[in-house]
Amino acid sequence: MRSCLPDYELVAPANLREALALMAGEPGAWKPFAGGTDLMVLLEAGKLPHKRFLSLWHLRELKGIEVSPTAVTLGALTTYTEVLRHPVLQQEFPCLCQGARETGGVATQNRGTLGGNIANASPAADSPPALLVYDAELELVSATGSRWVPYRGFHSSYKQMDLRPNELIARIRLPRVGRPRRHYYRKVGTRKAQAISKVVFAGVAEVEGGVVRDVRIALGSVAPTVLRCAKTEAVLRGHPTVESTVAAAQAALAGEIAPIDDFRSTAKYRRRVSLNLLAVFLQSCLGTVEQGPGPEPWYGA
């Protein structure tokens, strides 16, 4: 059933300071409202229990993409469209761009924000695996100050995160590495656009002479939160990408993920696809497979 509109408030603070002051004045009373692509769906379904919202959409302090020699810093209100159009992100953080391209359709990409995607805290969200493999850091701000935290570890359990009721996500910082890396991103859903992931995989690696110097792997839709797969990475680091390493890494990954059956897919399918995508990623590190969609996953029993 649809929600009763007179029950809801949405106010537009003039600037970030005013927004934070409102949040500090009544902790927990005001919830942020960015592009609304998650919140409006809940409103329409009559599933938006919270009643008072602060519109962030016009706050300049939370917009824009800044490039410095050491990092790219994105305002929390950065939309998928802005991510897609940014030349430095295309060049150095292609997994994030690929995730943005495969999120919803154009209209959703024009309104959906990275801050909203993070704070919505869905384990099936598409940009978090990319943010995890790029070692993103988040700036959390409140009326009393700001703190930077690694994005890795931000989601503590299903829909839980290290964000206080008086805090907003202000910015997302991606360190620039300056060395060539292999990037692989693959979202597996029912169709290319407008579909939520059954499995989403992101990986970056530095490979030298067939040996994995450094590697980062993250998956979505396979655990209660998006997951950085440290154990799998450890198995790979310093090893050549030969068949036995791939098998050992797959075994490690199988132990790290905990997929479930739900209306979108089954645990079995998710597990199989995750291991296949890891193999495709590792092949792509050797240069035998182009970065991008790669071959179709394995569909057998």
Binding site: V11, G36, M40, R111
Partner: protein, 165 residues
């Protein structure tokens, strides 16, 4: 004045005309257009961002009006299907949809046309893949899409260059 509890004033331009409305801040732009302004060309399909029937342009960018709260269009310039023709002269995209048979029941058509206008504004010569990506958020239960793509391709052939919103 707007003094009903929790209602707010919202001022925006729709198809070139300025309006000041007194509405609930979370009222969907879709309902503002259809109920308050009686611009019923914008359709509702799903009401949850999936189908694109409610697509309009805000400051030139394609959005699903079912997901935009009224408060957030304060100060914005909105273009709906009613606003793209030039008086009696149809927009080239509208003409192309007629010529190619790109509409059947018509429910998806206003949104589809705005998505096409937005695509051609960004990319005057889209590849087939660009077309598919540009219209991927707009679902059609009737045409099977081929005639819609044909319509978009026709516009490109006709104008050769940029198509304006």
């Amino acid at each position: 004045m707007c003094d009903e509890r929790h209602k707010v004033n919202v001022t925006c331009r729709v198809n070139g005309r300025e309006y000041t409305l007194c509405v609930f801040p979370l009222m969907r732009l879709l309902d503002v257009l259809r109920e308050e302004l009686r611009l019923t060309g914008t359709k509702e399909g799903c009401g949850e961002g999936e189908c694109g029937a409610c697509s309009v342009l805000i400051d030139g960018e394609l959005v699903n009006s079912c997901l935009v709260p009224a408060l957030q269009v304060n100060g914005a310039e909105i273009t709906t299907i009613e606003g793209i023709a030039d008086g009696d002269r149809l927009h080239t995209v509208q003409e192309a949809f007629i010529e190619a048979g790109g509409a059947q029941c018509g429910i998806c058509t206003p949104g589809m046309i705005l998505a096409a206008v937005s695509l051609l504004g960004r990319m005057p010569e889209p590849s087939e893949e660009d077309m598919r990506a540009g219209l991927a958020g707009n679902l059609c239960r009737c045409t099977g899409y081929m005639k819609i793509f044909e319509a978009v391709a026709r516009v490109c052939q006709k104008t050769g260059t940029k198509v304006n919103a």
